[in-house]
Each structure stands twice: as C-alpha cells, then as structure tokens.
C-alpha cells in the first residue's frame, strides 16, 4: 500500500496492539480531561486552582502506583471512599449545614436540582465542592486505565461528565470531546482486546469522524467552537435580545455579543417615584457570565428593608405580556397579588410562575433615601457573609484589570469615592453600542482594554469587577429601568428598558445602586427603536387604551458627591493601546482581525479526527489506491536498465490486468500476451523483458524503447482504467 505509517513502530512494523491500547488510554484521558476542565473552570472562577492541580497530580500518581498492586475491588472501594469522604467534608465545610435528617433531605433535593441544570457554580462553596469530587472518579478512571480496563474507565468518566452535562456546566465543546473520548475508548478497547490492526483503527476513525460531522450538521455545536462559550440557555427567539439574556435564566446571566432591543410593552407600573425595577442580583462572575449562588425558597409575609433611611414606595404593576420575573424597586418589603414569591440568598425576589397579561401585582418597597445618607462615612466594616460572597473575582482575571482599578481610584479615600470614580471612568471612557462582538476570555478585560464600546452588561460587569479588585463588595443587578412616563405617576416599561446595573454594599445602609452605563446614548438608542417600531406598525409597542404617547423621564443614579471625579489612569486603554502597551496576550478578535487566526488546539484536534476518518473512507473506497496507481503508472523508474524494463513491463501488465484479465500463475508472458490479444507495443515490451530475463542483462537502448512504449501504452489507456 501507499501509506507510510509513522506510528509507534517496532522492527519496521506498526505495533498495532500498543497503538490501540494507547488510543484507548488517550481516549479515556480526553474524557477525564473534559470533566476536569469543568472542575478547573469552577476553581478558576471561585478560587482553589493552587490546590486543584496538585490534587489531580497526586490522585493520578497514586492511581498509577496502585494500579499494579491493588485489586479492582479494593480500588473501587478506595474510589468510593474518596468520593463519599470528599462530599462529607464539603457538607461539613458548608457553614449553614448541620448533619441531621433534614440535611439528608436537603442533599437529595440538591442532587435533583443539580441534575436539572443547577450549575455547580451556583453552589455557595463551589470551590470546596470541586475539590471534594475531583479525587474519586479521577482515581478510579486512572487506576482502570493502568489495569487495561478501558471500558470501565470510560464508564466512570462518562458518568462523571454526564453529571456535569446535566448541571449545565460542561460546554458544548467539552461534552463533544468527552463523548468522543468515551466512544474512542469503547472502540479502541474492543479492538485492542481482539488484536486488530489498521482496519480496526480506520473503523474507529470513521465512526468518530461521523459523530463529529453529525453533531456539526445537527447544529448541536456552534460552528465556531470558541473557547469557553458556556452552555447557557438561549433565549427562545433566534435573535438575542438584551432582555432575554438578562431574564431568561434567573440563575445565570450570560454576557452576549450583538443584541437587539424589543420594543414590546411588558408592563405598566404606577409608583410614587420612578425607580429601577429590579428583577435579580448576581454575586459570582465566571469571566463570561454572572451566576447567582445559593438557594431560592418560598417566603410569606414581609420581606426586606434597607438598613439605612428609606422611603416607602408602592408600585402597582399591570402586566401587558408574559413576564418571567417579578420587578420591584429595591428593597421589596411586601407583595400583594395572586402570585407566590420566592426569595433568593441575595435578598431579591422571584415569582413562582410566569406572570400573564392583564395580571396585577402590588409591591411595597422601602427605597434607600440617598439624600439623607452619608455613604462617604459608611466605612468598611463589612459583615463576613457580604465579604465572602461579593468580593469574588475570577482567578484568571489579568492583573492589568486590578492595576487599572488602582489607578482610576488612586485619589479615592472611601468606598463611596471608589465607586463614583469607577462609575465616572466607565461613563467617560467607553461609548454605548449594542452592536459589539463579545470578546473571548474574560469579557471585563476585553471591555476595559480592547473595546471602545459596549452596553450595560459590559459596563456593569466591569464596574463590579473593578470594585471587587479594590475590596469593595459589589454585585451585578438586572431588571428594568423606570421606562417612560405615561402621565401622572404611571410608567410604561418595554423590553428595551431591560438593563443591568451595579449595587455596592455600604455598612449600615445596605445595597446602593450605581449605573455606569451612560444614560443619554442608552436612551437615544431606546427612543430610536421605539420610533422604528411605531413607524413600521409593530404590535404591542404602545399601551392600547391610552390616547397619548409616553415621554421620557429621568432617574437619578449618581448622587451627592458629584464633584468627585476619577483619577487619570495614566495609560491609554482600548484597542489603540495594543500598539505600545505590554499587556497580556489576548486572542481578542479586534487586535488580530486582519490576520487569519489559527484555530485553537482543540478545534485542530477535532479536525484531525475528521481528516483521519475521511482518509480511512477514501482508502476503503479505493480512492487512495487509484490515486497512487495513477501516479505510479506515469512515473517510471530511472537508471538501471534492468529496473527500467521491469518497471515498464509491470505497468503494461497492470493495465492489461485491469482491462483484460490477470496473468495466470502458470502462464508465460508470451502466452499471456497472445491470449489477451495484446497490441504490438505491449508485446514488444514483453519481448524485451523476456530477452532480458534470458540474457541476464539488457542494453540501455532497448530499456529506453521499453520505457517509451510503456509510456505510450499508459497514456492511451490509463485515462479511464486506473
């Protein structure tokens, strides 16, 4: 055959058994790697990388060491002990948990919620949890690979990955890689056990390639397999709306790329003063999404009040569309209406069902009275529960983010000044646009250093991250802005009023709203969208029973200390900074937009599998053989006349074999040429070869003649017969 194989080779021959066992081991490694990647992501976000990597190394080393000496049952027991022990340690580490019957019930309920999409990142102690579950399956899978039990190892890995698929933490790419790893382990193990050879490897390659092509064709995997991506649920419609990305999944807010605004009216609200209608708050940032940790439990009676001075604001909501959130000015104190209320660990509320058009809900809130607040004097005496939850920054956030925050807030002496400085910095330095490409990697780093423009989620995420870098507890909040005034004290709120902003914690006061998004350009964009929708006659843009149009209204977001400003960071940021700044390397799409980007290694690996599968299909279909023959026929050997003659004859004989029949074993060349009625050129080549055989040598002239005749013969016939 034509292929030269450069696999592990022993004595010039491919060591197929070793190759197959190696393939099975690598497949299991990919599978295990796919769930370890999820856990690594968790500890990267919440902290614990320093413990995670040594832990994995230790567990794998232990498994390799014990693999040779320890019985399977002992190893299985050891793996189970690791898992159960780890989870017990986790339960002990969770402060609120006590180990009683109620805890066990809670454990059961938690398992169910994890399996129905409750992200591991939503666990309050996700880092501890990740470290707790890592050793068990990893030890067992590695041990089984060392023992050569690849299928069992794959089963352990698949169960573990399956868990993270169900929690929604495994990315599409990670799940694909893990699934391919599991399938590869099945295939290679089956073949290694049976001592198969190349044909078997081909069959596995074809199968894996088919799986990849099928998933791509079914649209299960995004065409551009970007880095993390995440598996956050899409928002139903084909186009991403800001509102969808902020309210579709109450537990996770994914930062999107370009978005549109929906002009449809969601609800109207009567209130004594315009407020931001908050829908949810998020504490944990992954670098590309916001996650709300902890639980959501039904509540009755009164809810929350700010610690500081507050005013009572009654809001009468009338819903005009189906809405999945329960908007409320912060802090909601009481809800009246035909809907159950759930409270989150972040002290925000959720409805227990979707709210329907024409439904009425009254919410009484106590809103912090900023005019009498002395936020500048609030100090930094944060409660531990606040510090624990609201100071988290992804572990892989580049240092330059913190450095920038330091410089921007250099003159700020209090947390309040810090917040104002960052808010003003973002309002001044970045311009508002809905049409931005989502950067790869950490979006805050991307927004601060490589983008000029962004919208509310970029502003708010950046402000929270910078505040946390400065040690100020802050969180990412979503909901709706005040909307537009319909007249009197009534406001109309549309999909395009959905918004993300920031809340900063001040001791003795509570959560205080900041909005780093420039208000004017945002309102302009919203106004334009409403006008477009009205002029195109779209349905649901206005409240039907009203004769007059709504008007814009302001809500104060930044207060009191307007004279305070941010410090000049001293370095240029934004995309133009790339030229002279020695910043961390980034795969951002803007910096390298002109150059064709090399796909990342994972994508290349997937393509390599597809390529190998395609090659195998071609070889089986005979295409490679035919291609090689076509070349072989046309390039005759040079040099030694004997070789030239043999080369010429082998080509003539091959073609005769294809067009007439093959020579029988007991047939002489001249008999054969006679029987198949070969033409004169073929006969002459045969004759020269016979003569050479008998004489033991041949003259260069005759050799050249044979060569030319063969070339003519090939040129005439090869076209359709190779």
């Amino acid at each position: 055959m034509t292929e030269t194989v450069s696999f592990p080779v022993v004595g010039g021959r491919v060591a197929w058994p070793d190759l197959l066992r190696g393939g099975a081991a690598v497949s299991v490694a990919v599978l295990v790697g796919s769930y370890l990647a999820v856990l690594f992501h968790v500890v990267t976000v919440v902290g614990g990388v320093a413990a995670f990597v040594p832990l994995v190394v230790a567990v794998v080393s232990l498994a390799v060491l014990l693999g040779r000496y320890v019985d399977v049952r002992v190893a299985a027991a050891l793996g189970a002990v690791m898992l159960v022990g780890g989870l017990t340690a986790y339960l002990v580490a969770v402060p609120t948990a006590t180990l009683d019957a109620g805890t066990l019930q809670q454990v059961g309920a938690d398992v169910v919620s994890l399996l129905t999409g409750f992200s591991v990142l939503q666990l309050t102690r996700a880092g501890v949890w990740a470290l707790a579950v890592t050793p068990g399956p990893t030890f067992l899978a590695t041990y089984l690979v060392v023992r050569g039990s690849y299928v069992r190892a794959a089963a352990v890995g698949a169960l573990t990955l399956g868990f993270f698929v169900l929690t929604g933490d495994s990315t599409l790419f990670g799940t694909l890689a893990g699934t391919l790893g599991a399938a590869g382990a099945l295939g290679f193990a089956t073949l290694a056990r049976r001592g198969a050879g190349r044909e078997g490897v081909e069959a596995v390659a074809i199968g894996l390639a088919f799986m990849i092509v099928a998933t791509a064709a079914a649209g299960a995997v995004p065409q551009a397999t970007g880095g993390g991506g995440g598996s956050g649920p899409t928002t139903g419609g084909a186009t991403t709306t800001l509102e969808g990305s902020l309210t579709a999944d109450e537990r996770r807010a994914e930062i999107q790329g370009p978005i549109t605004l929906s002009p449809r009216v969601r609800f109207t609200v009567q209130a004594s003063q315009p407020e931001y209608w908050r829908a949810g708050a998020y504490d944990r940032f992954t670098g590309s999404a916001w996650v709300r940790t902890g639980q959501t439990d039904p509540v009755t009676g009164t809810l929350f009040r700010p610690e500081g001075p507050s005013d009572r604001v009654v809001q009468r909501y009338r819903f005009r569309d189906t809405v999945g959130v329960l908007p409320a000015a912060a802090e909601p104190y009481r809800v009246r209406g035909d809907v159950g209320v759930l409270a989150t660990d972040q002290r925000t509320i959720r409805p227990n069902r979707t709210l329907q058009p024409d439904e009425n809900v009254t919410v009484t809130s106590y809103v912090l009275n900023r005019s009498v607040a002395h936020l500048d004097d609030a100090g930094t005496d944060y409660p531990p529960t606040i510090e624990e939850r609201y100071l988290q920054v992804p572990g892989d956030t580049p240092d330059r983010v913190g450095d920038l925050a330091d410089r921007v807030t250099a003159d700020a002496e209090t947390p309040y000044q810090t917040a104002v400085a960052i808010e003003k910095y973002l309002e001044a330095e970045k311009s508002y646009s809905l049409d931005v490409e989502r950067p790869e990697g950490n979006i805050v780093d991307g927004f601060l250093f490589e983008m000029d423009q962004g919208y509310c989620t970029y502003y708010a995420s950046s402000m929270v991250t910078m505040l946390r870098e400065e040690g100020v507890p802050a969180r990412f909040v979503v909901g709706y802005t005040q909307g537009r005034r319909l007249g009197g004290e009534e406001y109309v709120v549309r999909g395009l009023d959905s918004h993300a902003w920031v809340e900063v914690y001040f001791p003795e006061y509570g959560w205080v709203r900041f909005d780093p998004t420039p208000a004017q350009p945002r309102r302009a964009a919203e106004r334009q969208r409403i006008q477009e929708a009205r002029s195109s006659g779209a349905v649901g843009v206005d409240v039907a029973e009203r004769q007059f149009r709504d008007v814009e209204v302001n809500v104060t977001t930044t207060t009191v200390n307007e004279s305070f400003n941010y410090s000049d960071p001293g370095v240029e940021t934004g995309p133009t900074a790339g030229a002279n700044a020695t910043t961390a390397p980034s795969r951002g799409p803007i910096g390298g937009a002109d150059l064709p980007e090399l796909p990342d290694p994972e994508t290349l690996a997937v393509w390599a599998v597809v390529g190998l599968g395609a090659l195998a299909v071609l070889r089986r279909a005979g295409v490679l053989e035919r291609g090689w023959r076509a070349v072989w026929l046309r390039y005759q050997p040079d040099g030694d006349p004997d070789e030239v003659v043999e080369g010429a004859w082998s080509r003539v004989e091959y073609l005769l074999g294809r067009t007439r029949r093959h020579r029988y074993a007991d047939e002489t060349v001249s008999e054969y040429l006679h029987h198949v009625a070969a033409d004169d050129r073929a006969r002459r080549v045969g004759e020269i070869r016979e003569r050479m055989r008998h004489a033991g040598h041949v003259t260069p002239a005759l050799a050249e003649e044979a060569r030319e005749l063969a070339a003519e013969f090939v040129a005439e016939r090869a076209g359709d017969n190779v």
């Binding site: 999409g117 698929v165 399938a183 081909e202």
Partner: protein, 372 residues
C-alpha cells in the same frame, strides 16, 4: 448545599436493559438475521433516550451533543454491520482422536475490512473445548483443543460468526462455514503380555520364527516385518519377510456384544484393548460389532479400521451367527465387562496389565484433513 453521589442518566436498572434487549432480540429473530444491539449498544441507546428526556424536561444544556453523537455512534455501527459481507470460514481439524484426549481444531474467519467478530464453534454433546473467540476477521488462525469425551463420530461446527461494529454496539450473526467430523475411538488399555485368556492366541504369533519367503513391501505391512538386511541389497525396494502358515494364518475375530447403551462404551474400550493387544502381538485381527464386521488383517492401516469400527457401533446385542464366528467376545452385561474366549469368561479388569500403565496411544496418530 450538598452534592450528588450518583448520576441518573446511565443508572438504568439492569432489568430494563434486559427487557429492552429481549424485545429487540425477538423482533430481530422474527425478521431474520438482522443486527441486534449488544448490551453496550442498549446502554448507549438508554443514555441517548435519557439525555433526550432530560433535555426536553429540564433544558437543553449540552445534552443535544450527547444525543446526536450517541445516535451517530449507533447509526455508524449499524451501517457498518449491515454492509459487512458474510465472512468466510475455513476449518482444519484432526479427523481421528481417542476418547479422553484432545484434538486441535483451527478456524479461520475472513471478511473484507477485517470486521470485529465473535466466533463460537458449535460443539456436539461429548466434545468440550474453549471454542469461542473474540477476534477480527482477518483470517488469523483461531485454534482450540476439542476434548473428546465420548466415543463415536462427532460433528464440529458450523461456527457461528457474530460480526460487530468497531465500537461493539451491534451484533449480527452469520451461521457460517463448514463442519468437520472427528471420530473419537475408544481408549485402549495395556493387557497382560502372555498370561490368561488370550495367551493361546498370542503364543501362536510368537511362533512365527518359521521363515517362509521374502517379498516386496506392500502397503499395510508392519515395519517390524521388514527384513532390513535383505532390503539393503535391494536399493529401490524394501523387502519384507513373510512367515509360515502358522502365524500368517492366525486370524482372530473379536466380537462386541453390547445390548445395553449404558455399557456400550465400556464394551468398546475393552474390545479395543483386546483387539489392539492381539494386533500388536502380530495376529491378523478383525472385529465384529452389532453394526458390521472388519475382516481380520494386519498392518498399521488396519489398526485404525478396527478402532473406527469400535468407535462407531451402536449398542445392540451381537446376533448369534456373529457370536459364533467370533473367537473372542467382549460382552458388556449389567455391571461388568467380560471377555469370553475358548469357552471360558473372565472379567476385563482381570486382563489389565498390573503395573497400571496404559498402552501408549497409538490409535493411529493424528491425521490432518482439510475441509473447506
């Protein structure tokens, strides 16, 4: 908060797997030799279905990758086993063996693209062996020892070849290939050299020192009759000494009377021992069984015929005329095997060599035959 300890996707009870597999199996049996999922294939299908269910009830997550990739795995495997050509099976087997011993059997299974196969050779009652192989159909020799437990003709095969996809999710059975027959001949046991019942016959053979004449070697002559000294003078031929009438005329017919199927094997073993004992003493030996007769003769080839006849016969009383003809009758009665000769009877056990050593196995030696 807490964490899960199990994963619900794959943890389907084994009984569900079993039921699903049985149902699919029943369908595939009804339609013919269609591919059926293996346990592994059913497990993949269960994962796909569970993932579909979870995706529909609790959100997509990345479950669609599992669903699509899992289905692709099953479909690729199914297409593979549907396309595969029926494997060709070759078989090499020894035709002749002795009860209690093993004969080597070699199978070769071949199909284009060397698919993964499980080969199971059908073994009849009375033959045991590790006749199942996990292999690929590249024609490699698959060998096992067929242990012959009972006397008679045994048909080995046909081998059932089950073709799998490379991932082991599907199985498609091909009842394929030739069979081979192995004749399991009775064991022979060493008897007393000279004494007892048979000495009358063996002593006749001892007297063969009467030299008669030399003649050319013919097939079937015992090597011990070759006259090596004389052969040396005739470069192209072996020369055999033919003895006088006393020895050459000494022919013994051994009869087997086995009315009872339960004791037929014991009778066969005793008769074979007696016949071989006499044969090795140089007598022309024949056997008469309820099924037929092998006329007395000498020569290595004849030994095999004697044993073959004793291997094949079915339990039945030996008819009176045959009993009359037989010089020695081996009779299996209720609880003993008797050897009757010259009007007296003795239990077979009494004839056995006292040192307990069985006669060397010279039941003809293994002969290989190929059937395709």
């Amino acid at each position: 908060m807490s964490a899960p300890t199990t994963d619900a996707v794959v943890a389907a009870p084994a009984s569900v797997l079993g039921t699903a597999r049985d149902a699919l199996g029943a369908v595939s049996d009804a339609v013919g030799h269609l591919p059926r999922p293996t346990r592994r294939g059913v497990a993949v299908l269960v994962v796909v279905l569970a993932a579909t269910g979870m995706a529909l009830t609790a959100g997509r997550r990345s479950l669609d990758v599992v669903v699509v990739a899992g289905l692709a795995l099953l479909l690729a495997g199914l297409a593979g086993v549907l396309r595969v050509e029926a494997p060709t099976v070759t078989r090499t087997a020894v035709e002749f063996g002795t009860v209690g011993e093993s004969v080597p059997v070699e199978l070769g299974v071949r199909a284009p693209n060397d698919p993964v196969v499980t080969v199971r050779d059908a073994l009849p009652a009375g033959v045991t062996g590790a006749a199942a192989f996990e292999a690929v159909a590249d024609g490699r020799p698959l060998t096992y020892d067929a242990h012959l437990r009972t006397r008679g003709r045994h048909e080995l095969g046909p081998a059932v070849v089950t073709v799998h996809d490379a991932f082991g999710c599907w199985a498609r059975r091909f009842p394929a290939g030739p069979t081979a027959t192995v004749l399991a001949v009775p064991r022979t046991r060493a008897l007393h050299g000279r004494s007892g019942l048979l000495s009358g016959y063996t002593s006749v053979a001892e007297e063969r020192s009467e030299f008669e004449r030399l003649r050319e070697y013919r097939r079937g002559d015992a090597l011990r009759d070759v006259n090596w000294k004389a052969s040396a003078k005739h470069p192209s031929d072996l020369v055999v000494t033919e003895y006088g009438s006393a020895a050459s005329g000494a022919a013994v017919l051994v009869g087997v009377d086995a009315p009872d199927a339960d004791h037929a094997d014991a009778a066969a073993e005793a008769a074979a021992s007696v016949a071989v004992h006499l044969f090795e003493a140089g007598l022309a030996v024949g056997v008469v069984t309820p099924d037929g007769r092998v006329v007395p003769a000498r020569g290595e080839g004849h030994r095999r015929e004697l044993l073959a006849a004793l291997a094949r016969f079915e339990a039945a009383p030996l008819p009176a005329p045959e009993t009359e003809d037989a010089d020695v009758v081996v009779r299996a009665t209720g609880d003993a095997v008797e050897v009757l000769a010259d009007g007296s009877a003795v239990r077979f056990e009494a004839l056995l060599a006292t040192d307990g050593a069985d006669s060397p196995d010279d039941a003809g030696g293994p002969t290989r035959g190929v059937s395709a």
